[in-house]
Amino acid sequence: MSEENERQDMMLNLMQQNAQRIMSTVPWAQALGFELTGIEKGRAFAKVGWREDLVGDPDTGVIYGGVLTALLDNLSGVCINTALNKPMSMATLDLRIDYMRPADKGRDILAEAECYHITRNVAFTHAWAYHESRDKVIATAAGTFALNDISRWASGNAAMDIANKMLGGEK
């Protein structure tokens, strides 16, 4: 196994060990009740429960679209972390969301994100939000993220900061 793969596996292990801290240290993710439910190499999974105060249409009880935007944005960032071989911080460059159908009142919304390409400066992601499976999506997202050296930018991500300390970071 190459050194690069080893580092990537170490990063992923650290992320998995500290999964609970990844979203819990982001105030906006906390405020909306996001819960990270799983991470794999290049993929991340999350859940947000239905809540009265997040409703965007008082007549139907449908969750506000912006909640899905935030969820898919956040989760896309997390899935990039799992695909890196050194801790980096990232900033969303742009995010495109398509709303396919409204979320059902009272039901949890599940989401997954996939980082399908990384260059030195940019990461590309796709993400999906749904109730049961990706066959019947509520919304999809396509994102691009600028990658930054963590020594110049604070990551704002607890697991990344831990990984940075343990792996010594990159100067």
């Binding site: 240290t25 982001v26 105030p27 906006w28 993710a29 906390q30 405020a31 909306l32 009265e52 105060d53 997040l54 409703v55 965007g56 249409d57 008082p58 007549d59 969750i63 506000y64 679209g65 912006g66 909640v67 935007t69 935030a70 969820l71 944005d73 956040n74 900033a91 969303t92 460059l93 742009d94 995010l95 495109r96 969301i97 398509d98 709303y99 930018w153 604070a154 990551s155 704002g156």
Partner: protein, 139 residues
């Protein structure tokens, strides 16, 4: 406040998410300026005191909805079909402002651009949103 602006205010007052983020607006004729008074919960990165892109995005989407509503006679708020958010600068942990231009308001669709800024710098856009909405009342 014009009758239509009062209707918009009533819509925001009874929309849970609008209350959750505490969005406010002023209307000059049918042009709206929205304000998002800062709250700690909007933060996405504590270490650099930056707002979460999802908070800025949600505010811009609501600004776009509000602008379409204000300048139309729709009974129900427009429904988003898709949107693209450009993050131009890091938004600091302070109040956000936004305005929106409706490029086209058709019978079924509306195309809207919304822009957010901070402080006294409306020319320095921190985040921009381009969105399509379904405006058909039977949609």
């Amino acid at each position: 406040m014009s009758p239509r602006a009062a209707q918009l205010q009533a819509f925001l007052d009874r929309t849970p998410f609008a209350r959750f983020i505490g969005m406010e607006f002023t209307a000059d004729g049918d042009k709206l300026i929205a304000r998002l008074p800062f709250q700690e919960k909007f933060i996405g990165n504590r270490a650099i005191n930056a707002l979460h892109g999802g908070a800025t995005g949600a505010f811009l989407e609501l600004t776009a909805v509000a602008q379409v509503y204000l300048q139309s006679d729709l009974q129900r708020p427009p429904k988003p079909i898709n949107l693209t958010i450009d993050y131009l600068r890091s938004a600091k942990g302070e109040d956000l402002y936004a305005r929106a231009i409706v490029h086209k308001l058709g019978r079924r669709m509306a195309s809207v651009r919304a822009e957010a800024w901070q402080g006294d710098h409306p020319e320095k856009i921190v985040t921009a949103l381009q969105a399509h909405f379904l405006v058909a009342e039977d949609g």
